[in-house]
């Protein structure tokens, strides 16, 4: 996918869409953390890459000097006039407007609200397993992990389940198409907004018990949301909730397929799953975010220029030996685990309770159906590059 020249020097010319990064970014981050903890690259008009937990946390907390106006690195920077709300509040918003846009979403994604979705999520996971029939090898990413978040969010929002392929395509375009020319990327966004606009109008005419109707009836600052804001919020939920959760489920299955002892332990001790899941989220955190530098400044000795990008690789923070003992070991009963897979500070993933429920149910159903499984062909596994990393091709031999 990368249309950029391959990287030869990770310290001065890194590119997070490079195939080497996609295949295995951990050695790159380990080396940078030791030797060049805040690296810089001229690509994308200037990008900084902190790799230590403390630096990543400090930047995530510093909403004064780093803006969320865009959180996906590409050649394109959204116009400054969009600040402080940004294209897709709350993820693209800065204080003080961030708070209210986020407040709107939190009750919908509270643990209590998410609990209610568990039975339907479980039934759907079981349906996916059934559809695999009696084959020996299945693609756990394409036939299982991928479908779960799409179905769950479509039902929550009130979008037709049959359109799953349609929105998966949109999301993919936004997240993985970062090296496409600007017109191509813009075209993708316009298609997504056009699609959602139609569904919003239909909901305005025929209100029902779902999230789109809820958003249309919600108020901010005592006023109804304008319909365009509703469309932007729905787009955000699709973009933020699908590839991310797909990646987390896929990476967890990948780990268990390659580590028989961990798999056997989870089959024998299903109550360990919530703790094990946090460890899998730490070790294979799928999401790297980004910020833009607000003004020229010296940041801990780094000459940062206004409008340069800063990547926030939470997965690298999670592998920092200064913050975690034996960070490269997956210890599925790790008790102390202050990982940052869902971010830190005011933008903490608003969907984290949903994501955790989906991940837990997906793994429970999988382990129940296939107590013994392994990678069918380790060399055939393919990981996505860019800011959301997870297996996209994952052939697994079930019933071994």
């Amino acid at each position: 996918m990368a249309e950029h020249p391959p990287v030869t020097d990770w310290r001065t010319d890194f590119d997070h869409t490079d195939d080497v990064w996609a295949a295995d970014p951990y050695p790159i981050w380990d080396e940078l953390r030791e030797q060049c903890p805040v690296a810089h690259s001229e690509r994308y008009g200037g990008v900084w890459l902190p790799t230590r937990y403390d630096d990543i946390a400090a930047i995530a907390y510093d909403t004064e000097r780093f803006t969320s106006r865009s959180i996906i690195v590409s050649e394109f920077r959204p116009p400054r006039m969009l600040a402080p709300e940004g294209i897709a509040p709350p993820i693209s918003s800065d204080p003080p407007v961030h708070k209210e846009a986020r407040r709107l979403l939190l009750p919908i994604f509270s643990p209590q609200a998410i609990d209610k979705l568990e039975p339907s999520t479980r039934a759907y996971c079981q349906e996916l397993i059934k559809a695999m029939g009696d084959r020996d090898v299945v693609d756990a990413a394409a036939e299982y992990a991928q479908h779960i978040p799409v179905r769950v969010i479509a039902n929550m929002l009130g979008l037709p389940e049959e359109d799953a392929d349609v929105f998966r395509g949109f999301v993919n375009h936004v997240l993985e198409g970062v090296s496409l020319p600007l017109e191509k990327r813009a075209e993708g966004m316009i298609n997504l907004f056009g699609y959602l606009q139609g569904h919003m109008e239909d909901h305005m005419a025929n209100p029902r018990d779902d999230l789109i109707t809820f958003l249309l009836e919600s108020e901010m600052d005592g006023k109804k949301l304008d319909p365009f804001q509703v469309v932007r919020t729905i787009a955000l939920l699709l973009i933020a909730g699908i590839d991310t959760t797909w990646s987390a489920i896929g990476a967890s299955i990948w780990h268990l397929a390659g580590n028989a002892a961990d798999r056997q332990r989870l089959v024998a001790e299903p109550d360990l799953l919530p703790v094990a899941m946090e460890e899998l989220l730490r070790a294979y955190a799928p999401v790297t975010m980004a910020r833009l530098v607000r003004e020229d400044m010296d940041w801990n000795g780094c000459p940062m220029k206004a409008e340069e990008w800063v990547l926030l690789p939470f997965p690298s923070a999670n592998r920092d030996p200064a913050a975690f003992e034996d960070p490269d070991k997956v210890i599925i009963d790790r008790e102390v685990n202050r990982h940052a897979a869902f971010g830190l500070g005011i933008h903490r993933c608003a969907g984290s309770h949903l994501a955790r429920m989906e991940l837990r149910v997906a793994l429970e159903v999988w382990l129940e159906a296939f107590p013994a499984f392994e990678l069918a062909d380790p060399d055939a596994v393919r990981w996505s590059g860019g800011q959301v990393r997870g297996p996209r091709v994952l052939p697994v031999k079930i019933n071994v």
Binding site: S110, P111, R338, F342, G345
Partner: protein, 66 residues
């Protein structure tokens, strides 16, 4: 021992109430809060320390009884 969630720092990761539901609960937006006055029964002290150590925002304070 007594635990307390600092509402200014808490961002609702939920690690406290997942780790130690006996001691913490979620409010209606998913932020954590201590149950009751936060007093920790002796048999839950270890759990309380684990919850404190897992809060990504370092939002939980823990006063050891003297």
């Amino acid at each position: 021992m007594r635990v307390a969630v600092d509402v200014e720092r808490c961002e609702g990761h939920g690690r406290c109430y997942m780790t130690a539901p006996e001691l913490f609960e979620a409010d209606d937006i998913g932020n954590g809060r201590e149950r009751g006055d936060g007093t920790v029964p002796p048999d839950l002290e270890r759990k309380a320390r684990v919850a404190v150590a897992n809060c990504p925002e370092r939002a939980i304070t823990c006063e050891e009884a003297n």
